[in-house]
C-alpha cells in the first residue's frame, strides 16, 4: 500500500512563502480581494505560521509551514454529514467539492484550521482564467476546500509511470509547494516504503508532529531546528 506523507525541515525553511504562491498557482485557489481578506476570508491552503518568543531585544521567531496534515484519524471526516470529505486508501484526506453542502462542520473540527470556505463565487477577470490548471477543479461558492497533497500530481506521476510500465519512484511525486521550495525543506513520499526519504526523515530524532497529542495521526512530520548528526538522521 501507499501512504502519502510529508516531512518539513524547519532547519531549512526560511519562511520565504514561495510554497504559498506555488500552491495558489497549482490549485486554482480563488482570488480574495482586500475587503474580503480583512473579513477573514483569505484562502491559503498552506501558510507559514510565525510565533515570537521573548520580547525585544531578546526575541526569537519560529516558522511553521502549516497545511492539511492529512490526519490518519482525521477529526474533519466523521463530522461531515454527506461524506464530502473522506479518507482515501492512500491516506489522503480528500474533498469532493460537488458533494459538499457547506455546513462548515469539518472546518470547525479541524484542530489545524486548514480548511477554507468559498464564501463567494470566484472571479477570474479575463484573461486570468487562461492560467487555470486544467487538472484541478475550480470551486463554486458554498463549498469547503483545502490542501489535497496535490492529488492531481500524484495521479499524473502514476499515469506516467504506468505508461512507461514501471513502479512509481521515490521523489517522483512532488507537490507544488515542495517543488518550488528554494531550500528543499519539503519532502514528499510514501511512508509505507521504509526506504523512502520521507520515511527515513520521519524516523529522525528531530521529527515531531503538530498537536500529536490529540491523536489525529498527522501525515506531516516537522523536523526541529538543530544539527542532523545529533539526531541520528541518515
Amino acid at each position: 500500500m501507499t501512504r502519502w506523507a510529508m516531512a518539513i525541515d524547519l532547519d531549512r525553511c526560511t519562511g520565504c512563502e514561495a510554497c504559498v504562491v506555488a500552491c495558489h498557482a497549482e490549485n486554482n485557489i480563488r482570488l480574495v480581494g482586500p475587503e474580503e481578506a480583512a473579513r477573514g476570508r483569505a484562502i491559503h491552503w498552506l501558510r507559514i505560521e510565525r510565533y515570537y518568543e521573548g520580547e525585544y531585544p531578546d526575541v526569537r521567531v519560529r516558522f511553521v509551514p502549516v497545511l492539511c496534515q492529512h490526519c490518519g484519524a482525521a477529526p474533519c471526516e466523521p463530522v461531515c454529514p454527506v461524506y464530502a470529505t473522506y479518507h482515501t486508501d492512500e491516506g489522503l484526506n480528500a474533498m469532493v467539492y460537488n458533494r459538499c453542502v457547506g455546513t462548515r462542520y469539518c472546518a470547525n473540527n479541524c484542530p489545524y484550521s486548514v480548511r477554507f470556505f468559498n464564501w463567494h463565487a470566484a472571479p477570474w477577470p479575463d484573461p486570468l482564467q487562461r492560467q487555470l490548471n486544467p487538472d484541478v477543479a475550480a470551486r463554486p461558492a458554498g463549498v469547503m476546500e483545502k490542501c489535497t497533497f496535490c492529488v492531481q500530481r500524484i495521479q499524473r506521476a502514476r499515469q506516467q509511470a504506468a505508461d512507461e510500465g514501471r513502479e512509481l519512484r521515490d521523489g517522483e511525486v512532488q507537490p507544488a509547494c515542495a517543488e518550488s521550495c528554494p531550500t528543499r525543506a519539503i519532502v514528499f513520499g510514501d511512508l509505507d516504503d521504509p526506504d523512502s526519504r520521507v520515511a527515513r526523515l520521519s524516523r529522525s530524532g528531530r521529527a515531531r508532529r503538530l498537536l500529536e497529542e490529540l491523536g489525529t495521526h498527522p501525515a506531516v512530520f516537522y523536523l526541529a531546528r538543530g544539527a542532523r548528526e545529533s539526531s541520528g538522521e541518515p
Binding site: 477573514g40 505560521e49 510565533y51 463530522v79 454529514p81 461524506y83 472546518a107 463565487a121
Partner: protein, 444 residues
C-alpha cells in the same frame, strides 16, 4: 366554566380583535425581513454574512441552538406537569406546547439558512437514490436531523391530540369553509367514552414518549459541539448543561408568552397569579441549575489550566467577550436571584421582565459557547474575530417575527387555553365528593 368563559376563550378564534390583527400584520412584516435577508443571501452567497475563518459558525447557529432550546418549554414542561398531575398546569399546557412546535419550526430553519448551498439540503436526508449515496450517520449533524425531526413530529402530535376536543367544539360552532376545515381537523370527534378513553391513553403515551425525545434533542444539539475537538466545546457535561439551559430559556419564554396572553387576550382569570407563582418557582429552580452547570464548567476549565482552553476562557471572562459574558451572568443569575425568590417577584409583571432578560441572557450564552471557542483555535496564529453582518441581524430579528407570526396564526385557530381541560379541572374542583380522586383523571 360557564358560557361566558367559553365565549371569552373562543373570542380570538371566532371574532379576532384589532390587537390580534395588528400583531399579525406587524409580525408578518418582521418575518418578511427574514425572507428578504435570506433571499439576498442565497442570491449573493453566504459571504454576505459576517462569518469567516476561523469563526465558521456565527449567529445562525446561535439562533439554532437558542430556538431549539426555547422549544423545550412547552412539551417538556407540559409533559412533566401532566404526568405529575399538577392541577395548575391546565391553563398552561396548550400555549406551552404551541411554543414548542413553532420554536422548532423557526429553529429548524437555521441549519438551512446556514448552509453554503441550501438548495442541496435534501442531501442530508436519507432519501433513496440511484447512486446509492447516503448521508453519514456518524456525523452529529445527522443525529440532529433525526432528533429534531422526531421531536418536531412528536411535539406536533402532542399539541394536536389534546386539541381535538376543542377543534370539535369549534367545528360545532363554525359555519362555511371554516366548518369544513375544523371537521377535517377534529377527526370525527364525538366525545364518546371510547374516544375519551383513547384520547387519554394517547396523551399519556405521548407524554411519556416525548420526555426522552426532548432530553435527547438538546443533548444532541450540544453534541454538535461536544463531539468536536474545539477547546471548551469538548466537554462531557454539555448534554445536561444544554438541556438545563434549554428548559431554563423555555420557561422564560413561557412566562413571557403567558404574561402577554394575559394582557393581550384578557385571560387573567385563567392564567392566574397562582400559575405564575408556581411557574416562577420552577423558573428559580432552573436558574440555580443553570448557574450550577455554568459555574462547574468554567471552574473545571480554569483549574485544569490547559493552554488552548484557557485562551477561550480568558477571552470570555476578561477579553473581547467579557461584556457579553458578564451581561449574561447578570441577566441569567443575578437578576433572577434578586427577584424570583420573593412572592411579589413572581407576579406576572416582574416575572415576565426577568423572563425577557433571561431570554436575552440565554441567547448570549449560546453565542458565548460558540464564538470564543472558534475565534481561538488551537494553533494560536489563526485567532480570529467575528462581527455579525446586517444580513445576520436581519435574519435573527426576522426569526422572532416569524415565531410571533406563527403564534398569532395559532391563536386565531385554536383557543390558547384548553377549554375541555379547564372544564375538567372546574368539575373536579366543584364536585368535592370526587375531590380525593383527581389522580384518577390523570392526564386529562
Amino acid at each position: 366554566m360557564n358560557p361566558e368563559d367559553e365565549r371569552l376563550l373562543l373570542a380570538p378564534v371566532e371574532r379576532g380583535s384589532r390587537g390580534l390583527r395588528l400583531g399579525l400584520v406587524a409580525s408578518a412584516l418582521a418575518a418578511g425581513v427574514l425572507c428578504a435577508c435570506w433571499g439576498y443571501q442565497i442570491a449573493h452567497d453566504l459571504g454576505v454574512a459576517g462569518i469567516n475563518r476561523p469563526v465558521f459558525w456565527g449567529v445562525y447557529i446561535t439562533n439554532f441552538v437558542f430556538w431549539i432550546g426555547i422549544s423545550h418549554a412547552g412539551t417538556l414542561i407540559s409533559a412533566i406537569l401532566r404526568l405529575t398531575g399538577a392541577e395548575w398546569r391546565r391553563p398552561v399546557t396548550r400555549c406551552a406546547e404551541a411554543i414548542t412546535v413553532f420554536a422548532l419550526a423557526v429553529g429548524g430553519l437555521f441549519p438551512l439558512i446556514h448552509l453554503g448551498r441550501p438548495w442541496l439540503f435534501y442531501w442530508l436526508l436519507p432519501l433513496p437514490n440511484a447512486r446509492g449515496l447516503w448521508p453519514n450517520f456518524r456525523s452529529p449533524l445527522l443525529w440532529d436531523v433525526t432528533a429534531i425531526g422526531t421531536y418536531f413530529l412528536g411535539s406536533s402530535l402532542y399539541l394536536f391530540l389534546p386539541a381535538i376536543p376543542d377543534l370539535a367544539a369549534l367545528r360545532d360552532r363554525a359555519t362555511g369553509w371554516r366548518r369544513r376545515v375544523y371537521t377535517w381537523c377534529a377527526l370525527g370527534w364525538r366525545g364518546t367514552p371510547r374516544q375519551w378513553h383513547a384520547l387519554e391513553n394517547g396523551i399519556r403515551v405521548m407524554a411519556v414518549l416525548i420526555l426522552p425525545v426532548a432530553v435527547s434533542v438538546h443533548t444532541i444539539v450540544s453534541w454538535d459541539f461536544a463531539m468536536s475537538l474545539q477547546p471548551m466545546w469538548h466537554s462531557t457535561i454539555f448534554g445536561p448543561y444544554f438541556v438545563a439551559g434549554a428548559i431554563y430559556s423555555g420557561i422564560a419564554i413561557l412566562v413571557a408568552v403567558m404574561a402577554a396572553l394575559r394582557r393581550g387576550l384578557g385571560l387573567g382569570r385563567y392564567i392566574s397569579e397562582t400559575v405564575f407563582d408556581n411557574l416562577g418557582l420552577l423558573f428559580l429552580t432552573m436558574a440555580l441549575v443553570w448557574a450550577y452547570f455554568t459555574f462547574a464548567e468554567h471552574l473545571t476549565v480554569w483549574y485544569g489550566n490547559e493552554p488552548a482552553e484557557m485562551a477561550v476562557f480568558w477571552e470570555r471572562v476578561s477579553g473581547r467577550y467579557a461584556p457579553a459574558f458578564w451581561t449574561m451572568v447578570v441577566l441569567n443569575f443575578a437578576v433572577p436571584m434578586l427577584v424570583l425568590p420573593f412572592r411579589r417577584g413572581r407576579r406576572p409583571g416582574p416575572a415576565s421582565l426577568v423572563a425577557v432578560g433571561v431570554l436575552l441572557g440565554m441567547w448570549l450564552e449560546r453565542f458565548l459557547i460558540i464564538i470564543p471557542s472558534l475565534a481561538n483555535p488551537r494553533l494560536a496564529y489563526t485567532v480570529g474575530r467575528y462581527v455579525p453582518s446586517g444580513v445576520e441581524w436581519g435574519i435573527t430579528f426576522g426569526a422572532f417575527g416569524l415565531f410571533v407570526f406563527l403564534y398569532h396564526l395559532f391563536l386565531r385557530c385554536v383557543p390558547a387555553v384548553s377549554l375541555w381541560e379547564m372544564r375538567a379541572g372546574a368539575a373536579a374542583e366543584s364536585d368535592t365528593s370526587l375531590a380525593p380522586e383527581p389522580a384518577r383523571e390523570g392526564v386529562r
